[in-house]
Amino acid sequence: MALTDTSLGHIRPPVTDAELAYNARALEKDRRRENIQLLRLALPALAIVIILMVAPIGWLFSLSFVSEGGGLSLENYSRILTEGAYISIFVTTFKVAVLVTVFCVLLGYPVSYVLAMLPDRWAQLLLLAVLVPFWTSLLVRTYAWLVLLQRRGIVNETLDALGLIERPLALVNNMTGVVIGMVHIMLPFLIMPLYASMKSIDGNFMRAAANLGSSPGHAFRHVFLPLSMPGLIAGTMMVFVMCLGFYITPSLLGGGKVQMIAQRIEQSVSLFPTWGPASALAVVLLVLTAGFLALSWLIVRRLTANQ
């Protein structure tokens, strides 16, 4: 029951139904005006997204259905699915992406863990060390690896001088070189989200585990690792998806022997008179990437829903 207190009685000025109705209308008008203003504020951003993202992708999508002869067909897609060369490019792309991601996790997890455990001041300093290479040009870093890894590069010369190898190792112009270079470039993308998620794990969880009888190793496996999972998956997916579309590093460090999708797209454009085959490849890459992102989003959501 609604409680009404009108104890001030005769001092209280009466409110008519007409006044109440007027107020209701005015309030509704204010609400609508506010919504329109918010929409106006969002308009420039919306326009940029439509002009620079939706329209070009739509155009690309339509081009992918244009055959060499200029007619409308599914020729470009059927070629991707049936020609052996394309299949092997997809296999290589996934192989590189999986290898790079695995090495990134193996290297990045311990680094993130150390960063998360260090006092803030030290962690920020080391985080800077992770990020500084990030600010230098991708091209410069890739060429630097070329210098380091070539037959008579610093790595081979050092190993030789130490008497560890008899012949120079083939570290570049092959899969090894591509993976080394890409792991280096991708590592920050794994470390950043992982570090953020580890940082948010309350230290009392590990204390509680120890208090209940867990040795440090057991506590790590059963408490810390599962709690860092959302960050690990986010970082892993980020690296994996970025690897799928990588171009510069594999083409420079692969020496033409490691062909990934992005390289093939570039070749298609220069090889064929029309943009159809290249567009179809780009669309397939986009769909695959979106699929993986959706999958990772679902997994992270399921994991965090429990927390």
Partner: protein, 365 residues
């Protein structure tokens, strides 16, 4: 004093210290806790009580000293080998496990079989009145329920000692009071040696057998709640436990005097304390209209004027300015026959204090 369980252990803390550089968080603290006793460490923030608890649990390394559980020295033991239960301030319930998995965690580590594990989890959930909650997620629980689950997880493996770090600070006032009674009831039933940390004096008084009050890393007083309230050793304790006003008193031949008037003391020996102060508990004073009460040797009387009266529900709080210039708080319980003719703001009054409530405390500290 409660009955102690057969597995309960006494705790002996001897000359325990913790330094952080030049800062001394805990300064040579020695205290013995009997088997089955409920001891609360009470003090303002930064007084060293939490550091002491962390050293007992093994999360902070003492600079020097000894901690014995029964006859076992534990100072060198890592936390996971101490077999001490602990309730954390924010509960630290594992969010990726269900309620049942959380409680079974210490049991699995101790090699308890599947069947027995389930049985014991069920039993301890019944004990904290959350029977059937095994499959709930931690996020589905309210603050009070999380508190109970944290308690259940800390006691399910029958640790010899239970530690609690501000266990009720995250709860609202009403729930806190219910849980105080409930934790005390549980303690009486299980008889586990329990050491709790709080900054809430009411919580300390309600739950504990004894309270250890900390001030700047040192023990200021260790006593049963009633003794702590009635016979605080210093102004610091009297100020920290309950409300009080303090009046400066002068040493005269034959005892102590306030405003030239000799005081009738509960304990004549109090007159010899250094820097003596008269401690006035607001609820021990009676306020009457000036000139209405007769003087006798069992009552001390102070004259003043009412500065304000605040209605607080169960009681009325008076602020009375004494003629000597000091301000005293007086609490009168709200019973209709009394409150009807109580003085109001600006009126002249006498304050009456029974001689047995006339306590002197040491001024410093």
């Amino acid at each position: 004093m409660s009955r102690s369980a057969p597995s309960a252990l006494p705790v002996f803390i001897s000359s325990l210290s913790k330094h952080y550089g030049a800062f001394c968080a805990v300064d040579t603290v020695s205290v013995d806790i009997a088997a089955g006793e409920f001891l609360t460490l009470l003090g303002p923030s930064g007084s060293g009580k939490t550091t002491l608890l962390m050293m007992l649990a093994g999360f902070a390394r003492p600079s020097s000293g000894s901690v014995r559980l029964g006859d076992q020295e534990v100072v060198h033991l890592p936390p996971h080998k101490r077999n001490i239960g602990m309730v954390f301030q924010n509960y630290a319930l594992f969010p990726h496990m269900s309620v049942g998995e959380n409680i079974a965690y210490p049991l699995k580590l101790r090699g308890v079989g599947r069947m027995e594990c389930g049985e014991r989890v069920g039993k301890v959930l019944d004990l904290v009145q959350l029977g059937g909650y095994q499959d709930r997620r931690i996020t589905q629980l309210s603050g009070g329920q999380r508190q109970r689950i944290a308690l259940a997880r800390a006691i399910v493996f029958e640790p010899r000692i239970l530690l609690m770090d501000e266990p009720l600070s995250a709860l609202d006032k009403q729930l806190r009071e219910t849980m105080q009674i409930e934790i005390r009831r549980l303690h009486d039933r299980l008889g586990m040696t329990t050491i709790s940390v709080t900054h809430d004096q009411r919580e300390a008084l309600t739950m504990s057998d004894r309270v250890a009050v900390f001030s700047r890393g040192r023990l200021a007083q260790v006593a049963a709640p009633k003794d702590l309230y009635e016979r605080p050793v210093s102004r610091f304790i009297a100020d920290f436990i309950g409300e009080s006003s303090f009046l400066p008193v002068q040493k005269v031949s034959g005892g102590l005097a306030y405003g030239g008037q000799l005081l009738h003391l509960a304990d004549a020996a109090d007159a010899d304390l250094p820097e003596p102060m008269l401690m006035l508990r607001p609820e021990r004073l009676d306020v009457v209209y000036a000139g209405q009460a007769a003087r006798d040797e069992n009552t001390n009387m102070f004259n003043g004027t009412v500065r304000s009266v605040v209605f607080q529900g169960e009681s009325l709080l008076f602020e009375v300015g004494l003629d000597q210039g000091d301000v005293v708080q007086v609490r009168q319980s709200n019973r209709s026959q009394c409150t009807e003719n109580l003085p109001s703001k600006g009126e002249r009054v006498d304050l009456l204090l029974n001689r047995f409530d006339t306590r002197i405390v040491r001024g410093e500290g």
